[in-house]
């Protein structure tokens, strides 16, 4: 579904952000993207629907559904790859909830009813006329997700989806994400989320892929985790009191 071939990127100030990154994501797969702060996770995600690089290169490095991202197919790529941003306030820019969720569908010429359906899907039916600045952080996050889902993307790209959510919000988001059949790429420091949702994980540090493999195997490698600013998550060490973990039972 998504293929990245030898992707490198430098910020306009010359700082190297990504170096020679390659990986493939199959249809329906759920991938965890892990790594320390400043590893390049967010920058990588911005490449997946053509927000970066500022000018598309002549030799494209990112392929979606076999198609390279070009100036001509950019709208189609952006419809297929839905991006959830780290800060909900960056994403919610319309005065009311419904207008914001309907923004994507209206840009892509999709049916107007999708916005209401997407709101219902994230459990926010009845929030249509609420004013976005007055929502709680958890609600904002869910409205953002509804705004992405309303465009009916084939790939969901999520940047730190559980930051500033309370435990219940996290649990609800996890359950919601499990129900969504799209291909998912989730960048997160919330390693428990990665363990629960992602069968495979990619560890990046200093702009390069350090490891790529089965999530549990990767995250159980304590030495590797510590070396790259992470920790072996508790959920892999003992029976988690909140939930039965099938692979430990």
């Amino acid at each position: 579904m998504i293929e990245v071939r030898n992707l490198s990127y430098r910020y306009p100030d010359g700082k190297e952000a990504l170096r020679d990154i390659s990986f493939k994501v199959a249809d329906g797969e759920c991938i965890g993207l892990i790594g320390p702060n400043g590893a390049g996770k967010s920058t990588l995600l911005l490449h997946l629907n053509g927000i970066l690089p500022e000018r598309l290169a002549s030799d494209p490095a990112v392929f979606v559904g076999g198609q390279p991202i070009t100036e001509a197919n950019l709208p189609e790529i952006r419809r297929q790859v839905g991006l959830l941003f780290q800060d909900a306030d960056d994403q919610l820019f319309c005065p009311t909830v419904l207008e914001d969720v309907a923004f994507g569908p209206s840009q892509f010429g999709l049916d107007g009813d999708r916005a209401r359906q997407a709101l219902a899907a994230v459990g926010l039916a009845g929030f249509e006329e609420r004013v976005t600045p007055h929502l709680s952080r958890g609600e904002k996050r869910r409205v953002c997700l509804a705004g992405v889902l309303a465009c009916d993307p084939k790939v969901l790209v999520l940047d730190e989806p559980t930051t500033d959510l309370d435990p219940r919000g996290k649990r609800e988001l996890k359950d919601l994400l499990k129900r969504i059949p799209a291909t998912k790429i989730i960048a997160s420091h919330d390693l428990e989320l990665v363990v629960e949702l992602c069968g495979r994980s990619i560890l990046i540090d200093r702009g390069t892929v350090v490891a790529d493999g089965e999530t549990i195997e990767l995250l159980n490698n304590e030495l590797l985790m510590l070396e790259h600013g992470l920790e072996r998550p508790h959920i892999l060490m003992h029976q988690h009191p909140h939930r039965r973990v099938p692979f430990l039972a």
Partner: protein, 197 residues
């Protein structure tokens, strides 16, 4: 912080709140034009009308007066310049009365009509989309900006043990500018990600 210091009462249930947004906008514009084109006997009538509307709308008097006082420094600042002209005192009072009435009209409009409805009306009047989008973004991020400024202020106060120096304030304002620019870039990226062209 609840980001609603400008239009806290815009979503009320009074008869005034229930009037169509287009009618209220047209009425407000009409009042402003009338105030600008006429002299004081008419102003008394307009002031009476506005007070009547304010009473009917059930927006707390204290809130309206406070918001009016917020804008008064700007009004006075402009009016004071006219004192140095011939016939200055008369011009000064005219300016103050006119501006105060206009500002009060707008405060009433903002607190009896949700901003999103006003935007819809403006959109239906075929105002170019770019203006409507700019207005919507301005309204949306004004609160985020104020919120950010407040958080920075609080964080600074937590580490301030002496009197605040002007240079510190300048740094805060500069920081706020940098942060806003960066946020603007992120918002634009998020809009593009959902198909904005």
């Amino acid at each position: 912080m609840r980001a609603d210091f400008l239009d806290r009462h815009s979503r009320g249930t009074s008869p005034i709140h229930q009037l169509p947004a287009g009618g209220k906008l047209a009425g407000a514009v009409l009042i402003v034009v009338t105030v600008v084109l006429t002299q004081w006997p008419v102003w008394l009538g307009v002031a009476g009308l506005l007070i009547g509307v304010a009473a009917l709308s059930r927006v707390p008097v204290g809130f309206l007066v406070k918001r009016l006082l917020w804008f008064e420094p700007v009004v006075l600042g402009m009016a004071i310049l006219s004192l140095w002209q011939p016939g200055g005192v008369e011009k000064f009072t005219t300016l103050v009365c006119r501006s105060t009435l206009c500002v009060f009209t707008m405060i009433l409009l903002a607190n009896t009509t949700p901003f999103s409805r006003l935007l819809h009306v403006v959109q239906q009047l075929r105002v170019p989309a770019i203006f409507v989008t700019t207005l919507a973004l301005l309204y949306r991020y004004l609160f985020v900006l104020v919120d950010e400024a407040e958080r920075m202020q609080r964080a600074r106060q937590a580490r301030t043990y002496r009197r605040t120096r002007w240079t510190v304030l300048a740094t805060v304002i500069g920081q706020l500018f940098v942060r806003s620019t960066e946020r603007a870039e992120r918002i634009y990226a998020a809009m593009c990600a959902r198909g904005w062209k």
